[in-house]
Symmetry: D2
Subunit: 352 residues, 4 copies
């Protein structure tokens, strides 16, 4: 599959959630997959149900009204000659299913947190019960950030699709850190705000309309599980980056405001060039021209991550703003972007 | 208690919900009750908890940070010499507890639907399992609409606090129906819209922020259980009034748009006078001067029901608009208004 | 152009508003127009500006970042060999420009209210100053409801794109009225609710966030200008239909709740068949199976109008619910649907 | 007026805005002012209008339906024997009117930014055209933060009511800075988010419902005019504090997330004590017990500022969260709190 393929056969396990729904929508709309809608899989042993009963907003899309979600079954994946399996399942489920999937010759894009973290200590937040097989596969998992690891993704068997917050912050910081522009002794503050869809589809007191509407709250201040992804991908230590998420009273979208100091006084032009150059060939990252800043409305329901910045008058303090749709570039679009790379297609195909 | 009392001792059972929380807030703020905060009761056998843990937004009000919610206990009600018990408990619970409360000499304002309906057929929607004692007490229950039944409420032992939708519609229609201005052969259409707090505090798929936000939906089209209250209080038959509720993407507030035909061509002035005269001595109903219409923002977090109307050019078709806060005039404020009448105080005391 | 064309050249006048922005988005995404982005026209004499400065959310779409909005110029339309001109301009402007456009051989889809009404009395709400040329052309204008007038639209020179509220109500009622199922002596009540984008892009006190958020209000109770469209298209008199719009605190979407009586007792199946049959070949109208009802979330950002209904137990009182996105099926998508018919393409092309 | 007064006569200039409306509401509800509603002043030369036409939500409050807003007139202030003038007028207007007010023996609480800043350089953001009289009075102006300057406010002639963002941040930081716990070489990051009412009542593109709803955006990154208040009140230099405001899609409320490093490793208890002790006698500041954090819902429509914090495991990195209602503790309630101090009353009278 490392050379360009005309089409592939995909399957999606975990269709009922918000990210799973968006992923199916993107696959149904994908120009390479018009003849091959994805195989949709529910829990093993569950009843077969119509897609439209789980995701009514998909009705009207090509194939959508004819598709069913069938019980997960390894034999079926083989019979249907599936090439690529998307897992939008809980962390532990993903951890358990990947070894068998790879053994069966499938390639996998996993949207959970199960395979993103190489350091066992970081991975502890997911409380994964691990068999030996899984531990051995971890080294093979590629962190699915196409802007950072495109070539490795293209040939990977197992791609760990990044977390939504992590994507917004890693994409903002990677260019500056790789160029050694950041004063790491000073530390980086990441103040992030996310719409409610990020908190999942299960009804809880926290996502009750009455709790979330007309409100804002910080949570998981020193302990959000996306922190490990930032540490590993940006090669930072825990005291070099402070990440605080907040729950916004909107359905979707993330805005991260990032504060750092430059190693030495810089110019607007030098920061602009650093970002522009890094993303010159990345169709899904849009760098705004300073002082313009991204806002959530410009990215919601798109596959883009928008970046912008402003520099203090004395040239040392930098404020970066990063926006994306948590369900798209923060989840489903990035998964499709990874699929595109794995199939040898243009990375933005079906995403613009 | 039919003559004016300096103060009374109140208790509230069912403190954890939205209406219960508003009721406690109003009682803590009530000028007649500054020395006697309400006794707060949870479920029988439950743990004692601080009020502030159940209703954190009450913190800072007089007494609020010192109050606890104690397990329901009939003996305690006696020891504390409670005069008036508010029940903000589930329907069946209210149905079961009222006979004992009255037997113990308490007066009761019940905020559930258990005692509002005199016709057994209408009451069937609540699926109440009824002991003989309850059935006998039903005739004694007074429907707690102070604008319609003030004198009877003043001396009642058991007041059934009206439903929120029912209040908004009954207050709009009662004056015109009593004056025989409405063409009943034609029928009345009541299109009502309510904020999400009306659907209760338990987290469900329907009140998940993602379901309610940026949405509008109709529900219970021919079967909402507040319909029975309208039929009984307005003396209408089921085919004379059509009531359709909708779920609005806002925390609180109801707006009902009501369509009817007048018996004969009327003038704006005659309709205006009918409403103005009916509510001339009702401090919590504000009649707007046509063509001004109420809107939800003007009543939210107030105890008012606002009414307005417009008449068609030919003078036959009338559109009434009625607004109130579902948790206040539609629940807690109306309960306090009933308490005021029962204690012989001004009906709006503590509500303006 | 009445036979199928491979492609056409389009122009859009009035790009800065909400509907204009959505229209440009649809045209840029349209599979027949991938090589020919629309010519974008601002006011005559205005400066040329980048499309992305007026509609930043379009950035990233094919062609979008290269397109400019140039001053309106009749000569330019000729030089660019435009076939079809979309007018998303103010009513009076459309009224003035259409005669010249037709004289120049252009076909026109007008999104304003200027050409929708054939009865001069109904048209009076727009206060159009009319030259003789315009008055003569009015008879030629075809009301652009593809579900009602598809064949006439296909060959029309001038298509008057319907109003958003009118579309939602006409599509719900047309099948039942044409089948003579409705008791017209009784009259029809249409209670409609629209998101704020329907009120236009100019900042006013009414669309200030503080006025619209957490609110609901009725307006234009006996005088909304979409009423005339309903009267003409449904062949009703003013006292047979009551239309009341409300302003919803959401960005986009319309839900209309429609109340009527059937001529004779009907069955759920007979009403269902009436709607199903009428729209059997209409890809953009989805009829729900009773008792399922549409809701705004299911149509927002789609080109669908969703219809549903429930019938009272005695079989006489019918409640219809109709939902659409006011900027899409209520404006831009319907304009593209009209273009598709005029070009001989499938009516839903580029809209699913 | 430094000794306790039974009552005082107040006037409010600038009644039409959001903060002015809240201020009038608080004054009408104030237990010391039940017999003396405020004199309400519009622009000099303007028509007299009913209060209810400018602030319809006040209708029903004591006196509210009888009050008029009369044109500003210095003679009238004298005739009515006004003691205290609230200015909720534009900055330049306040700058011009204060000298005359003081000359006439009035005491003033000014809600604008005109008198908050003692350093001329900081004040430059308001572009005030200054007469000599004003410049001389600046030294006399007391920054109206009752928690910081209570005794000086009690005897002041001119109180400059603080900005909303500034209040939230100054109250969070003052205790720690005064106790020398903060590493100032490291600098402080203040990421603040405010509801739309903070942006004023004039309709603009930015506060159009369609711009603000379902969105979040940063603005005025290195240049918000409340920054000067923080610098002066906290005695910081511009590179020691970074303040970034964001526009939240809610009507009201501010949440500020503040990041700093302690001078030396601290304990949760030491930080908790520092805050608790500082505000032990401040009835309008509530310090949450770590790890509990404030959220906007708990303070909206209250006069409280809520503070909370969490400390990193190694005891150096501190995250503070501060919440208040921008129109109340951030404006009108703080103005009333200042009035209470000036009149010798309990500072929270009429505010709980």
């Amino acid at each position: 599959m490392s050379k360009t393929l005309t089409s592939i056969r995909t399957a999606v396990a975990g269709v009922s959630g918000f990210a799973g729904g968006e992923l199916v929508r993107l696959l149904l709309d994908h120009p390479r997959l018009t003849q091959t809608p994805p195989l949709l899989l529910g829990r093993s042993g569950a009843e077969t149900v119509a897609l439209s009963s789980l995701q009514p907003q998909l009705s009207g899309l090509p194939h959508a009204d004819d598709l069913s979600v069938v019980p997960f079954d390894w034999k079926l994946l083989k019979e249907e000659t599936i090439d690529l399996l998307f897992l939008a399942t809980p962390h532990q489920q993903s951890r358990e299913d990947v070894p068998q999937a790879l053994a069966q010759g499938l390639r996998v894009v996993d949207l959970s947190g199960a395979w993103r973290l190489h350091c066992e200590k970081n991975r502890a937040v997911y409380k994964l019960e691990d068999a030996d097989a899984a531990a051995q596969l971890q080294t093979e998992a590629v962190y699915g950030s196409p802007e950072l690891h495109g070539p490795r993704i293209a040939t990977a068997r197992l791609v760990a699709n990044p977390g939504c917050y992590a994507t917004s912050i890693i994409l903002a910081l990677a260019p500056l850190l790789r160029a050694n522009l950041v004063d790491l002794d000073h530390g980086i503050v990441c103040d992030a705000k996310s719409g409610v869809s990020g908190a999942g589809k299960a009804a809880t007191a926290a996502n009750h309309f009455m709790s979330a509407a007309d409100n804002l709250s910080a949570y998981a201040v020193f302990g959000h599980r996306h922190t490990g992804e930032m540490l590993e991908q940006l090669q930072l230590t825990g005291d070099q980056i402070q990440f605080t998420p907040h729950l916004l009273p909107i359905p979707r979208g993330i805005l991260s405001t990032i504060y750092l100091r430059l190693n030495a006084s810089g110019s607007i032009q030098s920061v602009q060039s650093c970002l522009d150059d890094f993303y010159a060939h990345s169709p899904l990252v849009r760098v705004r021209r300073s002082p313009a800043l991204p806002q959530i409305q410009h990215v919601v329901r798109t596959s883009f991550c928008d970046l912008g910045f402003q520099l203090s008058p004395e040239g040392r303090r930098l404020v970066l703003v990063s926006c994306l749709d948590n369900l798209l570039k923060g989840a489903a679009s990035q998964a499709v972007q990874n699929m595109n790379l794995m199939a040898g297609w243009h990375e933005a195909e079906g995403l613009l």
